[in-house]
């Protein structure tokens, strides 16, 4: 099978073709030619307005729901959404019922998604049922294809359990994830504790709840060694703690959710539950720090933290609504607007090595793992742009920049 991408501007700051416009011929999933002009008989020709291509994008925190929460999202439609949003590889959170805490559950996810064109890498639950009591069978899950271990948004309350996990995971070089939220400090909070929460009478979650947990985890990591990933930080204090830990030489990475870079807690003024996310939207000062930390590389990765929630659990009184926003569809439009195309692509292609995810480059003889997009189209993100089964997007009505055509991956062209 042959596919010919015509007049594609290549965005690949680490490669030889960066910012050059070329024709790219792919035969049976392998890039065979990159030239100014290619004509190839029998090839499917892809000609799209202002076509840009980059290495396939990667997201380290995506949730769908299947099995258990199919009403939120299925694996089939979720992976299609990811593909159409430009993602060739995603890490899938164990936000399932039952929790993905054993090898057969890992195998289920992998086998159910292997023909989708998107490389879906499950994150195994760190503890049984994500209950923070007993470690799950990490080695068994790793041998079944789990690429990291964490309990999604359930914080590890017991510090000794993290200590044991970090030590144990070193036997097979596994990556541990610990979501930072000190539950007793967060209390019954539902949004960031600051001016907006005071105005709205909503219980606040102090930034302290996050940074205290980050500090604790970093102390434990210093003691144990091992590899720790802290997903979705949101505060200035967390950035400072992680920066200091990296300077000490600890093997720690972290991420930030795109919506935590794009919105502040002022968005909650109308009690709109689309903005109820975990970690909560913080202040402008936090957002400025987070953006600078992304630019400087202190924050390693950005993620959509894509969390589909059905309308029954989202269109409710604020206290009762679930946390989370979808983000795959709006990811590039938001990042491109914040950082420009070159940086956005760099951020969206980072992290594959950390999570042992298949990577390739735009050059002849390499596997074609490509994202196809147009970075200059400006538009207002609306319901028609949402492919997810659940429509809980914080980005609705936001002005975004850049549309995504889709991907070429695993010998599949997904642009329709």
């Amino acid at each position: 099978m042959k596919t010919l991408l015509k007049s594609a501007t290549i965005i690949d700051s680490s490669g030889t073709y960066n910012n050059q416009t070329k024709d790219i011929l792919i035969v049976d999933g392998i890039i065979t030619k990159i030239e100014d002009t290619i004509t190839e008989e029998g090839a499917t020709v892809v000609e799209l307005p202002n076509l840009h291509v980059s290495n396939g994008w990667f997201d380290s925190s995506v949730s769908f729901g299947e099995p258990g929460y199919e009403e939120c999202e299925t694996l089939e439609n979720g992976t299609y959404t990811a593909a159409k949003s430009g993602f060739t590889s995603i890490l899938l959170n164990p936000k399932t019922k039952p929790v993905t805490d054993n090898k057969s559950a890992i195998s289920y996810v992998i086998s159910k998604t292997q023909d989708t064109g998107v490389n879906v890498h499950p994150i195994g639950a760190l503890t049984m049922k994500s209950e923070s009591v007993d470690l799950a069978e990490l080695y068994d899950m790793a041998s079944g294809g789990a690429v990291a271990f964490g309990d999604f948004k359930t914080p590890l309350e017991n510090p000794n359990l993290l200590k044991i996990a970090l030590l144990y995971a070193q036997n097979f070089d596994a990556l541990i994830m610990s979501f930072p939220n000190e539950k007793l400090i967060a209390g019954k909070g539902v949004m960031n504790e600051h001016i907006a929460s005071t105005r709205l009478g909503l219980k606040g979650i102090p930034a302290l709840a996050e940074s205290l947990h980050v500090a604790r985890d970093l102390y434990i990591l210093e003691y144990t060694g091992g590899k720790l990933h802290i997903p979705t930080i949101s505060t200035t204090a967390s950035v400072e703690l992680i920066k200091a830990a990296k300077e000490k030489g600890l093997d720690v990475t972290c991420s930030v959710a795109i919506h935590n870079l794009f919105f502040t807690d002022d968005a909650l003024e109308e009690f709109d539950t689309r903005f109820k996310v975990m970690p909560p939207l913080r202040t402008q000062s936090d957002v400025d720090t987070l953006k600078a930390a992304v630019a400087e590389g202190i924050i390693d990765y950005v993620t959509t933290d894509h969390t589909p929630i059905d309308i029954e659990n989202k269109k409710l009184e604020f206290d009762l609504a679930e946390y989370g926003t979808i983000g795959l569809e709006s990811a590039f439009g938001a990042l491109n607007k914040l950082f420009g195309a070159q940086k956005a692509v760099e951020l969206l292609t980072k992290g594959k090595d950390r999570f042992n995810v298949d990577n390739s480059h735009i050059k002849v003889s390499e596997k074609a793992q490509l994202t196809l997009f147009n970075p200059i189209k400006e538009y207002t993100f609306s319901k028609e742009h949402i492919l997810s089964s659940s429509k809980n997007s914080a980005f609705l009505n936001s002005k975004l920049l850049g549309e995504v055509y889709g991907i070429y991956n695993n010998s599949k062209l997904i642009i329709e």
Partner: protein, 308 residues
């Protein structure tokens, strides 16, 4: 201006000073009405109002119901304990079911902050917020200001301290907004554990010493401890709270002025306020209750005239 700037009363935050003055002028008229032998006017004979109380309330519900009846509105009452909410029905469905029975206005008390705002965006009726979690209780703040105006002539320039559990209080938040709109100076007073960390961003000062607070103020609005909302212990004991934040006659007598003492009720005698203070001539607690009916009549009348 003869009509409100808003179709709902969701909070003081959403109205302006002119709205407040209009409500007060209208309330002046209704206060005269409720002191007549026949305490009733036929203004709202064509209006049906549902009082939806998803949280326990006695005085606010009675006050609203009396206000509605004295305007000749048809009234239906509903409380969560008897409703299908317990059977899993959503708030929007519950309210839409009631509205299908041709109800024009909804007065709602709800435990979740923003429930009124949420409802106003999702159902077709005029909404009056009768208290939503720790967010707002606008009619309480209006009647409090109205009572200050009645007692002291004006609200502008007055020093008002709100004492007690500010953290869990919708009365405090609505009062802060209302008093500031009218040009009063506001302090909050209570143990630091019960004062929101960022309260000064609203333009109020924090005073943790009650004696100093009452020396500063013209009006002290004493709030009760919202025991039902305390998920953890914010102070060691009621006894110790009373030692620091209970208002006593001796404290009032030490002042070289007569401050006005208010309380939104229900009073916990011997806790935030002693009996001799509650029953003293400086306390206007029962005036507040009477004014509550007039204020609620004004609010309902003005919102109903927008529906018409």
């Amino acid at each position: 201006m003869s009509e409100l700037s808003v179709p709902h009363l969701l909070g003081i935050k959403y109205i302006n000073e002119a709205d407040i003055q209009l409500i007060f002028e209208t309330a002046d008229h209704f206060k005269e009405v409720i002191n007549r032998p026949i305490k009733k006017v036929p203004s709202l004979r064509d209006i049906t109002i549902a009082n939806l109380f998803f949280e326990n309330s006695t005085r606010t519900r009675l006050s609203f119901e009396l206000a509605e009846k004295r305007l000749s509105a048809d009234v239906v009452n509903f409380s969560a304990a008897q409703s299908s909410v317990k059977k899993g029905e959503t708030l929007i469905d519950t309210v839409n079911n009631i509205l299908s029975m041709k109800v024009d206005m909804v007065v709602m008390r709800h435990p979740n902050p923003g429930a009124g705002v949420f409802l106003s965006k999702n159902v077709k009726a005029s909404i009056v917020n009768a208290g939503d979690g720790a967010h707002e209780h606008p009619t309480q703040a209006l009647l409090d200001s109205y009572s200050i105006r009645e007692k002291l002539g004006d609200v502008a320039g007055k020093n008002v301290v709100i004492v007690g559990d500010i953290l869990h209080s919708r009365v405090a938040l609505s009062n802060i907004y209302a008093l500031q709109l009218q040009g009063a100076n506001v302090k909050v007073c209570g143990p630091k554990t019960l004062i929101p960390k960022y309260i000064t961003s609203l333009g109020v000062e924090v005073e943790t010493n009650l004696q100093k607070a009452i020396e500063w103020c013209d009006v002290a609005n004493m709030l009760r401890i919202q025991n039902e909302r305390l998920d953890i212990s914010y102070f060691p004991s009621t006894r110790e709270y009373v030692q620091q934040y209970g208002l006593t006659k001796a404290m009032l007598d030490r002042l070289d002025k007569k401050i006005v003492v208010m309380h939104p009720g229900p009073i916990n005698r011997g806790v935030e306020i002693t009996s001799d203070v509650a029953d003293s001539e400086q306390a206007i607690i029962l005036d507040q209750v009477e004014n509550g009916v007039a204020i609620r009549m004004a609010v309902i009348y003005l919102l109903a005239s927008k529906i018409k």
